[in-house]
């Protein structure tokens, strides 16, 4: 929101610099985002009167002018729209204009030119009725030699302030002036808004009916007759322009002026268009339409509050007026509205029709019922002093009583306890009284009388904030204490899922994997690219109702697409031979559209595009990760749609049949869809499962004093016989003497046909003695016999 220094000075004396003032405002909660000096581009530009225009001796398109700027100077120009006697802006040496031109004394085709005449663009002027392309012609009353900034009333300083949502009362010049008053200890200047009225009564002109007092708690209407619609005076237009509002005509400008000055949005109707001479504030009827002042037509519904006459809506309440009743050049009688509309209702409607105005910016933050009366008074005062029309006596006001200040008692100690510091009582009273919160202290009791516009103050915490923001937060700069020294002892605790993830993350790092952080929102197109069909649990993706782009319009149901997109982008940048992992969630809805929260499953995914990695590299990682946990699992060929069905596996929990992990080679079509490489390997582990699984408990066996015996065997068996089956058989055959067994080679060739050769080594050990050759051979024979009997495997 913008306010200007001069405007603020109407309400409070300011004797500090603009920068200092901005700092004070920022440090007390009203952040000044920008200070704009209106005359930034107007220095060394003055009012000049053209005395003579002669042809240039050496150029057809140029003329030589003698100009009075308080002293005579000569200027050469190509301008066409000037004549002798015109007053124009003259930029002199040293001027830096808004369009970037720097002015120096110069010679044009051999003739001296001591400056330049300026157009509105060169000056950065936006409010001008003349020819925008030529030189700006000034009003005749402009003083020769005067700084143009003064002549155009563009010598103000503008503050752009970010007013927080809890301070609707600061959305005005008066509101900011009140803050300055509190900060600089200077009183708010009393305003004397007087006007004279005619003898007839507003009731003769209009009647007001409010259908919903909750949505419109106050409505004030006044009438003005004998209106002369014209341009507002320059000072008023200049102020509106400086805060970003376009001047229209005197009546409309007055309503906007009051909006900026008092934060009270107003509206003016042309009386002759109000059918039934009645204002009715009611919800719109479904299907009703209104063409608004922005020239768009809106279809209304029952959720939208409107100001109507007997027949039609004339304003969308608090948002925008209709063209069907606005003040125009032919207006002679107008009704002025100063009303309060409920903020939530205004906000909802504004969002629904997509219109935001200076009025909604105030109403949706909250305009309470104490402002309308003052707003109307100021508007009528302006009508009177601008001589814009005759004010009809009386007003219609739907609220009989002005809202009263509230008295609240607080405990001073509680306030200090919250702040952790004490502030001297004298200072407390001064700060609050300067904020117009009339206060007194009796023992621990702080009694405050809170003005109606400070609806945000209810509790001790609110008073604490008022005190500290004016007192200054820098009081804490020098305070140091041991952290949390005053609080109870609590025992810290990690989160199981996060800790499980952290452990696995470090394991993956040691295998050369880098952690990536991908978006968990994705494109619906990824579903097709992953080959997910409609029966898959990954098919139903939750849609974001208001996405900022289709690429991130859905919640992912798999970690794979995020990973593949990231890998693909890396490959496109000619990065190669890398490994990535990600910890994140997938979002599985129970049904769509969503009526309850979806399942959010914590996963870790990992992907390698390294030449030397294969299925077994991933298997090794998975085995090492799972080894810490106390649950039994089996492997099965994976049915994940995006993995190669013959070269991928699922890890399945024996107890629940849950898929704990999937890993393997990526499906060739998915490789193509995401533009990956042929040997792309991908794995994912369900972190929620592991976080719940208990860690292995160990009970340690005694160590044998006798040496172990190592033996190797190679057998030939059917392809279907698994390594697991062989080792299991060996273990059983060894009985009590079993120590370890592992496969070290698997060999296939044509001669073996549909069979494979498996070489394994095993260790035997006794707790009681050194094993003899006889005993060892017995075991070897038993192993071979059992393998043949159980698995039809023979010694190679």
């Amino acid at each position: 929101m913008k306010v200007t220094l001069k405007w603020l000075k109407d309400f409070v004396d300011i004797d500090i610099s603009a920068e200092e003032l901005a700092d004070k405002l920022t440090n007390s909660g009203n952040e000044v985002e920008e200070i704009i000096y209106q005359d930034k581009y107007l220095k060394n530009v003055v009012v000049g009167k053209i005395l003579e225009i002669e042809k240039h001796p050496n150029a057809d398109k140029l003329v030589v002018c003698q100009v009075d700027i308080g002293r005579p100077i000569q200027i050469v120009t190509a301008a066409k729209n000037i004549k002798v006697g015109d007053k124009v802006p003259v930029s002199l040496a040293g001027a830096n204009l808004a369009n970037g031109i720097h002015i120096e004394n110069s010679k044009l085709r051999g003739v001296d030119s001591m400056g330049m005449f300026c157009s509105i663009e060169e000056l950065g002027v936006t409010d001008y009725d003349g020819d925008a392309n030529g030189i700006m012609i000034l009003d005749d009353d402009a003083q020769i030699g005067q700084d143009i900034a003064k002549a155009l009333m563009m010598d103000d300083i503008i503050f752009d302030i970010n007013v927080t949502a809890n301070r609707p009362d600061c959305m005005s010049v008066l509101g900011i002036a009140r803050e300055i008053s509190a900060l600089t200890n200077k009183p708010i200047k009393e305003q004397n808004y007087s006007y004279e009225t005619s003898s007839d009564n507003v009731a003769d002109y209009i009647d007001v009916e409010i259908m919903d007092k909750k949505l419109c708690p106050r409505y004030i209407a006044c009438a003005i007759k004998d209106i002369k619609i014209e341009k507002s005076p320059r000072w008023l237009r200049s102020r509106l322009v400086s805060v970003g509002i376009k001047p229209i005509n005197n009546i409309v400008d007055i309503t906007n002026y009051v909006l900026v000055e008092y934060g009270q949005p107003m509206h003016a109707f042309d009386h002759k268009y109000l059918e039934g001479k009645k204002i009715i504030v009611r919800p719109a009827k479904s299907g009703e339409k209104i063409t608004a002042l922005n020239h768009n037509t809106y279809e209304l519904d029952g959720s939208m509050l409107c100001v109507c006459d007997e027949v039609k809506p004339v304003v969308i309440a608090g948002i925008i007026g209709g063209t069907n009743s606005c003040v125009e050049d032919t207006t002679t009688t107008a009704i002025l509205e100063s009303a309060a509309f409920e903020r939530a209702s205004v906000r909802r409607t504004s969002r629904k029709i997509g219109v935001r105005t200076d009025s909604t910016a105030r109403f949706e933050k909250g305009v309470d019922t104490s402002w309308q009366s003052l707003g109307m008074k100021r508007a009528l005062n302006l009508v009177y002093s601008l001589n814009a029309g005759t004010i009809v006596s009386g007003k219609i006001d739907t609220l009989q009583k002005e809202p009263q200040p509230r008295q609240i008692d607080f405990s001073l100690n509680n306030i200090f306890k919250l702040l952790g510091i004490k502030i001297e009582q004298e200072k407390v009273l001064k700060i609050l009284n300067n904020l117009s919160i009339t206060s007194k202290i009796d023992g621990d009791t702080l009694s405050c009388i809170i003005p109606p516009y400070r609806q945000d103050i209810e509790r001790e915490a609110d008073i604490a904030e008022e005190l500290i923001r004016i007192y200054g937060y820098d009081v804490y700069d020098s305070i140091a204490s041991k952290p949390l020294s005053g609080t109870s002892v609590t025992i810290g605790k990690y989160d199981d899922v996060l800790q499980t993830a952290r452990k696995i993350k470090y394991q993956l790092c040691s295998y050369g994997y880098y952690e990536s952080v991908n978006f968990s929102i994705c494109s619906i197109k990824d579903r097709e690219k992953l080959l997910i069909d409609e029966n898959d649990y990954m098919f139903n993706m939750i849609k974001i109702a208001n996405p900022i782009s289709e690429d991130i319009g859905y919640l992912r149901t798999s970690m794979a697409n995020s990973m593949f997109n990231t890998v693909s982008k890396n490959l496109a940048k000619k990065n190669s031979e890398f490994r990535l992992f990600e910890v994140g969630r997938i979002y599985i809805p129970n049904a769509l559209p969503l009526t309850e929260l979806p399942q959010e499953i914590n996963m870790i995914s990992f992907c390698s595009v390294c030449k030397n990695d294969d299925f077994y590299s991933l298997k090794g990682i998975i085995e090492n990760v799972l080894r810490d946990y106390d649950f039994n699992y089996k492997l099965d060929y994976s049915r994940k749609c995006f993995l190669h069905s013959g070269m991928s596996a699922n890890v399945i929990d024996n107890d629940t049949n849950a898929v704990v992990a999937s890993f393997g080679l990526v499906h060739p079509r998915v490789v193509k869809n995401f533009e990956l490489i042929q040997n792309t390997l991908y794995g994912e582990i369900n972190l929620d499962f592991l976080a719940k699984a208990s860690l292995k408990k160990h009970s340690i066996k005694a160590l044998s004093k006798y040496p172990p015996v190592n033996r190797d065997l190679a057998i030939v068996c059917d392809e279907e016989v698994s390594v697991e089956q062989i080792l299991d058989c060996v273990k059983k055959s060894c009985g009590k003497l079993y120590y370890t067994a592992k496969v070290f080679d698997i060999y296939r060739n044509k001669d073996l046909g549909n069979k494979k050769s498996v070489a394994f080594s095993f260790k035997l050990q006794s707790m009681d003695k050194t094993l003899t050759d006889d005993e060892i051979n017995q075991v070897v024979n038993k192993i071979l016999k059992d393998l043949e009997y159980k698995l039809k495997a023979v010694l190679r």
Binding site: R459, A461, S510, E515, S520
Partner: protein, 339 residues
């Protein structure tokens, strides 16, 4: 005889002095100490010596033999050492050839900061809690003193799924769930992913927060300040100072923005901090008593503070990352720089 012994000893010493390899050494041993060796022969010749002189001469010969044996043993050890040293020096490999192990990967800079914060807070007695990212409007807004159609909703553009389900725009939703299920006193932190409909050089639609909440008797702004000072010192160094500026959040009162001295220039002013010496890092404040009450906590007895840094921003400042988007593009050339 005496002379003979003396001579033998001297000649043995001379031979050993010239000996430089194990083979010659062995020859010398055989020459003097072998079955047919010179010492052995000398002992055999004892039979020609007078009986009474035998013990004395025998003693002398034994002494000479012991001396030669010792010299041979010493030289043998010496020569062994030398041979090994020669062997080792010939077996030298090029230690500058590349190693064989897989080069280790790295944790993402964002999560390095998360882990640091989590560890520090657990050590200070905080419990780590997580919650849903797809959340009810109630937990994300209403229970945090932001009713439907409240102007404070404009402070953040929220992704909606339906009228009452949204993508959480702040991890404060976890705090509401905690306040409703835990009994004070408690200290919690909730790290996690958050979403807002905003995307440019300094805003990502997916970003990360780390919110802390302490509810106890006698909690004040001073506790908030000292706790945050500690956390930010841990991230940015022991000389870090922080300052409060007034702000507004619906769920805290008073509310503050927290600035820390710029870790790049230490507060002197530089490009990174736009010459202010400070960096705006997080929002914080005393928990609004309304919020405590909405969650069933007695606001007369208990107060609390809350703080919520954006972790993406912290990671950027810690690592001087020039563009937020780099954090989520996961270009391996970016990630590799954190080795």
């Amino acid at each position: 005889m005496l002379e003979q012994i003396e001579q033998l000893l001297n000649s043995a010493k001379t031979s050993l002095k010239d000996c430089s390899d194990l083979k010659t050494l062995n020859d010398i041993r055989v020459e003097y100490l072998g079955k047919q060796g010179k010492i052995t022969n000398l002992l055999h010749s004892m039979k020609d010596v007078a009986k009474e002189d035998r013990p004395k001469l025998g003693q002398l010969i034994n002494n000479a033999r012991n001396e030669i044996e010792l010299l041979i043993l010493n030289l043998q050890n010496e020569l062994n050492e030398k041979t090994l040293a020669d062997k080792i020096s010939k077996e030298k490999i090029d230690i500058f050839e590349p190693s064989k192990q897989v080069e280790k990967g790295e944790i993402h800079p964002l999560n390095k900061v998360f882990d640091k914060l989590i560890d520090a807070c657990v050590a200070m007695g905080f419990t780590v809690l997580t919650g849903p990212e797809v959340e009810y409007d109630y937990y994300n807004f209403e229970a945090l003193n932001v009713p439907k159609d409240h102007p404070a909703r404009d402070m953040q553009d929220t992704f909606f799924i339906s009228d009452n389900i949204l993508m959480r725009s702040q991890t404060s939703s976890v705090q509401v769930r905690a306040m409703q299920s835990l009994k004070p006193p408690f200290k919690i932190v909730s790290p996690g992913r958050t979403y807002r409909a905003d995307s440019d050089a300094t805003h990502s639609p997916v970003f990360h927060q780390f919110e802390g909440l302490v509810v106890d008797e006698n909690v004040s702004m001073v506790d908030l300040k000292s706790m945050l000072t500690e956390l930010l010192k841990m991230l940015f160094g022991q000389n870090t100072k922080i300052r409060f500026r007034p702000s507004y959040f619906p769920f805290t009162e008073p509310s503050v923005e927290v600035d820390a001295t710029c870790p790049s220039c230490g507060g002197k002013g530089c490009k990174l901090c736009k010459n202010t010496g400070y960096m705006e890092l997080l929002g914080a404040g005393m928990v609004n008593p309304k919020v405590l009450e909405m969650s069933g906590i007695d606001s007369k007895k208990y107060s609390g503070f809350a703080f919520g840094p954006g972790v993406d921003r912290l990671a950027m400042v810690v690592n001087k990352i020039p563009d937020l988007r780099m954090m989520f593009e996961n270009d391996i050339r970016f990630l590799e720089q954190f080795k």
